[in-house]
């Protein structure tokens, strides 16, 4: 995928916070990478004969433990390098959140992978910061992804093909991506039960 017109104005920022019982610690704060799935999602909605606007909202996430999927911010990823599967999230993961599986596609209709594990963020965790800015707040609790070294995160559109999710798997595009590991060592955040992680993802259009 390539940078698209929307990128000329849209910019994003990711902040990752470690949340302990008695204090919190910002461990990452930097811009993100907007992917062309965001523009495709908007084009799909504006030309849609679809039924439900929530299909074009962006509430599903993936965490990963791969290397940086971008190369100098000139190549925009289609997928996370190494997304977590359900077993990596853990049996007691994110009890407050829904989980779903889906198929990832690129914009040329090619299926990249199926059965991907996604976390579903309730819409109440999506804030309107101002008339041109949206923030997603993903809370990864103490019971989730423990023992994993997290390095990457992706934000995806919900269901732009308006699949009947009671009968079919959703198809989705990645809309934004960020590698938050150490750029030189690749070392990420080793997740334990001693803290939760909060991802504050802001996109300004």
């Amino acid at each position: 995928m390539n940078f698209q017109e929307l990128l000329k104005n849209a910019k994003g920022h990711l902040e990752v916070v470690k949340l302990y019982d008695d204090h919190e610690e910002v461990v990452f704060s930097d811009h993100n990478v907007i992917c062309s799935g965001l523009a495709a999602n908007m084009a799909a909605m504006y030309s849609s004969s679809g039924l439900d606007v929530s299909s074009y909202q962006m509430n599903i996430f993936q965490l990963g433990e791969g290397t940086d999927a971008t190369i100098g911010d000139t190549v925009v990823p289609n997928v996370l390098q190494t997304p977590l599967d359900w077993s990596s999230y853990g049996e007691n993961a994110l009890m407050a959140l829904d989980k779903t599986t889906g198929t990832l596609q690129d914009l040329s209709d090619a299926s990249l992978s199926t059965g991907e594990a996604f976390l579903v963020l309730p819409q109440t965790y999506v804030d309107k910061v101002n008339d041109s800015t949206v923030r997603w707040n993903l809370h990864v609790d103490e019971n989730t992804a423990n023992g994993q070294t997290l390095t990457e995160i992706g934000l995806f559109t919900n269901n732009p093909f308006e699949k009947d999710l009671t009968a079919e798997e959703r198809i989705t595009w990645i809309c934004a991506y960020r590698f938050f590991g150490d750029p030189s060592t690749g070392q990420g955040i080793y997740k334990t039960q001693h803290f939760a992680l909060v991802f504050k993802w802001t996109i300004q259009f």
Partner: protein, 307 residues
């Protein structure tokens, strides 16, 4: 987002390009995107849920055409003064924070061609129409768009009193939309197949009849500005209520295209009329849209938005 406006003159389905330029996507477009992404879906037990979550509430819903600021001002100074398109002055340049096509004042709060001309302070709206599907102002003059017996826009009932050209309620979204459909309001292309999404482009098309263009040209300054609009959901939620903000269209009897089943105009309370927010605009330089031909069928505006 970027956009491109092309205007073609059609005669017997043969097209000639008469104007082409990029548009300006204004701040209202960002607001529309944010509004969609942060919309909180109501509980599923609502009986009108389908209307509330309709994606069309969040996307481009109308087009408007306007003259330059000079012509807007001049038109309101005296009713008898004719403002031909050949006399117009340069319009005010477009800026990202613009909310209208041209600056507004108390006599024209929309900044583009209205479909009525209010000449008396006692009149506030258009009431009690005998045929709600055809525009017949009782206490106003017609605006730039001619009377319904000569105007395609008014006879087919797709333009409201405030000059917003609505979507053709009977259109079929597809990758190669029909020009015929665009004579009944604005139509929207579809990306159609998944592979069509690659160019991330959506096209809005509207065809203005020769009589409608001449109505705008002869007395109201012609066309110097064009705009695409989304629903103003905040205003409409306050004054209109839940969507749909206007009655959904039905196919016209015996032909293509859709009249709205009840009027776009018959809102007794002016405040109850749904409003729009500007999404993108184009100022036509130099000196407005000039048409030298004396005989043509349609001026077709093709407006591409690239996300």
């Amino acid at each position: 987002m970027k956009g491109n406006v092309s205007i073609y003159m059609y005669k017997d389905y043969e097209s000639t390009l008469v104007y082409e330029s990029e548009n300006l996507v204004v701040d209202g477009a960002k607001t529309a995107v944010v509004d969609m992404l942060t919309f909180d879906r109501p509980v599923s037990s609502l009986s009108n849920l389908e209307d509330i979550v309709d994606p069309n509430n969040f996307t481009i819903a109308a087009m408007s055409l306007g003259p330059s600021r000079f012509d807007l001002d001049n038109r309101t100074e005296t009713l008898t003064e004719s403002v031909s398109g050949t006399n117009n002055k340069f319009p005010i340049l477009a800026k990202p924070h613009d909310k209208t096509l041209q600056p507004v004042d108390t006599s024209n709060t929309f900044g583009h061609h209205l479909n009525y001309y209010e000449f008396s302070s006692q009149v506030e709206g258009i009431n009690q129409l005998t045929d709600p599907s055809v525009y017949e102002p009782l206490l106003h003059f017609y605006g730039g768009y001619p009377k319904s017996d000569t105007s395609n826009a008014n006879s087919r009932s797709f333009i409201d009193k405030n000059g917003f050209i609505h979507l053709n309620p009977d259109m079929l979204k597809n990758q190669t939309p029909s020009i015929d459909e665009s004579t009944n309001g604005v139509i929207v292309s579809s990306v159609g197949t998944v592979s069509g999404i690659e160019n991330q482009e959506v096209e809005y098309i509207f065809s203005l009849s020769q009589s409608d263009f001449e109505g705008l040209w002869d007395n109201f300054g012609g066309i110097d500005t064009l705009g695409l609009w989304v629903w103003d959901r905040k205003y409409n939620a306050r004054y209109i209520g839940d969507p749909p903000y206007i009655p959904k269209g039905v196919a016209a009897t015996g032909g293509s295209g859709g009249k709205h089943p009840t009027s776009l105009y018959n809102f007794e309370d002016v405040k109850a009329f749904p409003k729009f927010k500007l999404f993108a605009k184009r100022i036509v330089f130099p000196d407005g849209l000039q048409i030298n031909e004396t005989s043509y069928d349609w001026l077709t505006i093709k407006w591409k938005i690239r996300f």
